[in-house]
């Protein structure tokens, strides 16, 4: 990890696709290591928010920045500190697990490539499948390969789009432990999920609905303010549906 100051900011971030408003004036500010959950149902704007933040999509209005650099102007130095896990498989099915992770290690120009690859494989517990082709793996294992590719360069801004989809509960718990370790080591971790219950693992949760930020707070504060027993119920309370 670089060890420098980390920050993520969005101000009034909006994105329209024709008549559809995918993101509507979202504000985020993270100035220190923490895990921020982006929670909401499918189509609530989580992926659009992530793509705007990473500079993959230009916003219709508003601004965003990572480590103080505007998203649309992210240079190699800033991008080298970002780890991104897309929602789709996003790995090469004709390569082995190790070759995939090594490719991303090479892209990030790591000098200690072999060591970094083994460390990433160990983190996702795929050391014993390292020489298998990705196409022979199950969906959950492929998510683990994808996560290893995301973390191989030890980023300090980690953006994960639905990382735990299709992953079994044991590994899911282990992944969240890993995210907390990254945060403790100084990283900002942004995790999107539509499993609202999972958001309890985050330091703060941003609830999204139809592109709008309903609220952002700690899981405990949500439970206290709504009187709900779990975050799913709290979300429904916020929607005014209960």
């Amino acid at each position: 990890m670089d060890g420098g100051d980390v920050s993520v900011a969005c101000v009034g971030l909006s994105r329209e696709f024709g008549p559809t408003v995918a993101l509507d004036g979202v504000d985020i500010r993270l100035d220190e290591p923490e895990i921020l959950g982006l929670a909401g149902p499918n189509g609530s704007g989580k992926t659009t928010l992530i793509r705007c933040l990473l500079g993959l999509l230009a916003p219709s209005a508003g601004t965003s920045a990572i480590n103080g650099v505007p998203s649309l102007e992210l240079g190699p130095a800033t991008r080298g500190r970002i780890g991104f896990m897309p929602q789709r498989e996003a790995v090469y099915s004709d390569l082995t697990v190790r070759e995939n992770v090594a490719f991303f290690a090479r892209l990030y120009g790591l000098s200690n490539r072999r060591e970094a690859v083994e460390r990433a494989l160990s983190f996702v517990e795929l050391g014993d499948r390292a020489d298998d082709r990705v196409r022979t793996l199950s969906g959950g294992l492929i998510r683990r390969v994808s996560l290893a590719c995301t973390l191989v360069h030890d980023p300090d801004v980690i953006v994960l789009d639905e990382p735990t989809v299709g992953v079994d509960p044991v590994l899911r718990a282990s992944m969240w432990r890993g995210f907390r370790e990254r945060r403790d080591d100084g990283a900002i971790v942004i995790v999107s999920t539509h499993y609202l219950g999972e958001a309890t693992n985050c330091d703060r949760v941003l609830f999204l609905r139809d592109g709008r930020a309903l609220a952002v707070d700690t899981p405990d504060a949500f439970l206290a303010s709504t009187g709900a027993a779990d975050l799913e119920s709290a979300f429904l309370e916020l929607l005014g549906e209960r």
Binding site: A77, A90, V91, Y108, R135, C149
Partner: protein, 238 residues
């Protein structure tokens, strides 16, 4: 440029497990040229046009679908977030698929010599140069057009729109200079015209050395123009 090297190396490594693409490069041209050698009594006369169209079409399909697959798989966005520049990414693709295009060009050359018993009026080296430059231009156009496609079907839809007019007007059925003026101008704005022009010279000694060098420069120009346009498109597709 290490990013470009990483991308090109990855393309070649991926190919090991992709038997269909390997077949498209190593087997399909041989079979097609064999079939044509059985159909044409004097294949040498039609060889420049046939070989130009083969190399152009196969390289276009190979590159456009390969690049599209990367976008569909989500790896493309992941690579865009890495420190690699968009120019390095395009260069990596040109390098990686350029090597595949080179292999394809060599296979076409070997099959032509074997089945067509092709002789080259101006030597095999010049033939390979023209063939290879034609493949490179198809490669760059494939990358560019695939950026406007959302799926394989849309990649194929570009064939009748962009590739077929080049085959019809590029000198396949009649010399470009005999076309009506407006169509001649259109033909001169298409890379396949120059690929056929160059092949006609090196295989049949049609035209002059000047025609050959015009073809070489034009093919290089189309390759560079398409690569620059792809780089710009990548910057704007947001």
């Amino acid at each position: 440029m290490s990013g470009a090297q990483a991308v090109s190396l990855r393309i070649l490594m991926t190919l090991r497990g992709d038997k269909r693409t390997l077949g498209l490069i190593l087997v399909v041209p041989v079979v097609l040229i064999y079939l044509l050698s059985e159909v044409f009594e004097r294949p040498t006369e039609v060889a420049p046009v046939l070989l130009a169209v083969f190399v152009f079409m196969l390289t276009y399909i190979l590159t456009a679908i390969g690049f599209l697959r990367e976008r569909q798989a989500g790896t493309f966005e992941r690579v865009l977030v890495s420190p690699i520049s968009r120019l390095e990414l395009v260069l990596g693709y040109v390098l990686g698929y350029g090597l595949l295009a080179t292999a394809l060009s060599l296979v076409v050359l070997g099959a032509s010599v074997h089945f067509f018993e092709l002789e080259f009026e101006h030597g095999v080296a010049l033939f390979f140069l023209v063939e290879w430059l034609g493949a490179l231009s198809a490669l760059a156009i494939g990358i560019l057009l695939s950026l406007f496609a959302q799926n394989e079907f849309q990649v194929m839809q570009f064939v009748p729109i962009v590739i077929s007019p080049q085959i019809i007007l590029g000198g396949t059925f009649m010399p470009v200079e005999d076309l009506p003026f407006a169509l001649e101008v259109l033909a001169r704005a298409m890379p396949l015209t120059y690929l056929i022009q160059g092949m006609n010279y090196v295989v049949l000694d049609e035209g002059s050395a000047r025609d050959l060098w015009v073809a070489v420069v034009a093919l290089l120009f189309f390759t560079e123009l398409s690569a620059i346009a792809a780089n710009e498109t990548l910057r704007r597709v947001r």
